[in-house]
Symmetry: C2
Subunit: 402 residues, 2 copies
Amino acid sequence: MTSKHATVRDLRRTNRATVLSRLYFDGPLSRFELSGITGLSAATVSNVTAELVRERLVVEAGQVESDGGRPRVLLRVDPGYAMVAGVDIGETGVKAELFDLAMNRLAAVDLPLPSKRGNSKQAEPAAVVAQAAAGLREVLAGVDEDKVLGVGVGVPGTVEQEPVRVHAQTIGWHDVPLADLLCEAGVSVPVFVENGAKTQGQAEMWFGAGRGARHAVILLIGSGVGASVITDGTIYRGSASSAGEWGHTIIQYGGRRCRCGASGCLEAYVGGEAIVERYRAVRRGKAVAGADEQANLATLLVAAEKSKTAARVLDEAADHLGAGIANLVNLFNPERIVLGGWAGLAIGARLLPRITEAVRTQALRRPFEQLTIELGKLGPDAVAVGAATLPVAALLDQRGTR
Amino acid sequence: MTSKHATVRDLRRTNRATVLSRLYFDGPLSRFELSGITGLSAATVSNVTAELVRERLVVEAGQVESDGGRPRVLLRVDPGYAMVAGVDIGETGVKAELFDLAMNRLAAVDLPLPSKRGNSKQAEPAAVVAQAAAGLREVLAGVDEDKVLGVGVGVPGTVEQEPVRVHAQTIGWHDVPLADLLCEAGVSVPVFVENGAKTQGQAEMWFGAGRGARHAVILLIGSGVGASVITDGTIYRGSASSAGEWGHTIIQYGGRRCRCGASGCLEAYVGGEAIVERYRAVRRGKAVAGADEQANLATLLVAAEKSKTAARVLDEAADHLGAGIANLVNLFNPERIVLGGWAGLAIGARLLPRITEAVRTQALRRPFEQLTIELGKLGPDAVAVGAATLPVAALLDQRGTR
DNA sequence: CGCCTAAATTCAAGATGTGAACGAAAGGGC
DNA sequence: GCCCTTTCGTTCACATCTTGAATTTAGGCG
């Protein structure tokens, strides 16, 4: 309803949440600094922090002398207060990781998915759920469940919330109640599910190349292509959480067929799978036979040093990517664009200047000037890290609402 | 800074603002109904409305008997409390209108701009400012200025706020301090400036085809192409207010040259000017000589009844428009898309089914199913109406902050 | 005229943020 | 060693706000 505040108690919740968030993101801070940053009076900060300390969520962390006067006592969120798990469901495998509140990795496990290449559907929900539950059991082995805030899951498809329903047109998932399925498979901590591009985006925003930006777009270029749009600090979801499907925007009307059914989608030009495919087609089968796309793309990148054909394929991909990014620039006017995903990172490492130049020529001048384009800092684990931030996010803005 | 509430006084402001907004948008309401809608207690509603009535912003508006008990007294914002002006700066003319608070049109005037077709720049800022000021003088003649809340101006370019700077790549405006210029030209009421597509969008959201939607995109297809993206009820501006430049997104990589300098922009395929141009090219000069684009497009639409060539040009435009809309659907996942602008309304009246079908085949299935596509309800005056809503919007959320 | 119902207002209670006063913890000068 | 200064943190009286309950108001109906 009028979700905003009405009662004087909501005020307290809001203030608790902002203090807690500030402490979480801006590291150890003294009460004095908190007062300046949050705009709250010193009295209120004292009040709120006392509560948080009493609940053991926040702990003292040393002192800082302040020329002459009483030293400031630093406060920070206790990393050991709780743990969170993150699961990255990819098209070929499942990754499960365990973190403390400060996102230090405590455990990790990688499980393959049965590849039924013969079968049209790549991964049955049941098989995926089984592997995810197995992975979680492994990283949570010997851990007190009361200490686990929850588990976040990043999936390659759009996720509707309340109730959680996963749709992934490209791998044949429709209306999959993933959270419920995981519960039934024995996962007994709270489950949060979100699109993988969005979890990766949150990870880069919180800890990676997106830090400090209020408007940004984090790109996920793997086999497929996705994006996470951050508007004024929060992930944009649209009316049914499926916003940000950048990979299936059309940049070449009537162009190459895409696995989504339409023609000329960006994904058909710049997705890792598409690029490798393209190289294969251009060379008429004379190359890259292996099944591992990541290895194939690496081979292609090396080949481009000498082969003009290979270089041309990559340049073409970079130019099309530039067009796709230019569209984002014109539509969203972000201050930063971050290139992530295994294919994005691989291509970007070598071709970022060309990509940037392609954006410059195809975007409007003004918004381009207000933009920086960077590579992701968290590598391919970002999806799992971001998934694990979901329970943390819930903690940060619910603290007090419970 | 932490713009959100901190003190218990801000709470009052917020509640005043929500009550006032509710009264403004949802017409006459009783205190009892207000209590239900806003979630506030009856006591608070009584309190807040008493204040608003005392300030003459809200007045009683009749009664409604409620089976048996004390009848409810209806309250509404007093349309006569103040007036607002709206100016629509187009590429060929300036429109100025005066409204009361309920957006009843009290006066209107249309002034042409000196067309320097020979000159490369279409409209010097100075000439535009002079005409706008003249128009305002005319509609404000004999009006008590204290009663005028302010004037909103819709311009065909992006508008950076604080300080106001207008950039319009297509008509050669760079860094134009329009608000200041209007002040210097003798406009003595508060001036608000915003992109025309955005003001049109706000008008359709408040009073037209967008009512009730929280996520929507309002398209403005005139000579050029623009859009206003509404995310969760508010216009999306991006980091420097230039978000929503949909017309210059690329849908045909390497395609037709656009006046913005890039190739394959949507505007080069579906803008009113582009369509007429296209028809002229296809017929090799055999047609449409007049200078008035609107008349030319009308002619084309009639010709399409019989001429296959004309029909083909229009169908092609509709299909490309479908691709452009599909991109919006995939990126923003809106619940509604509204087609506006003189060209959009003209084409849509005849081709909406074809456009919708084109969207269906090119967008992802799920977000398409959650979408409706409609024509704008306010006609070509929407830009001016929306401009006039800017001071009203300021009133609605500042009431109490002042 | 009195009774009944429902809306609107009043009132006391509970919760919160704030500024000012107060207390605490250092360093520096003598 | 003592006192002063500086700066951070806490306490407390106060003003403001929302709320639920009690009370008042305004009509309909018998």
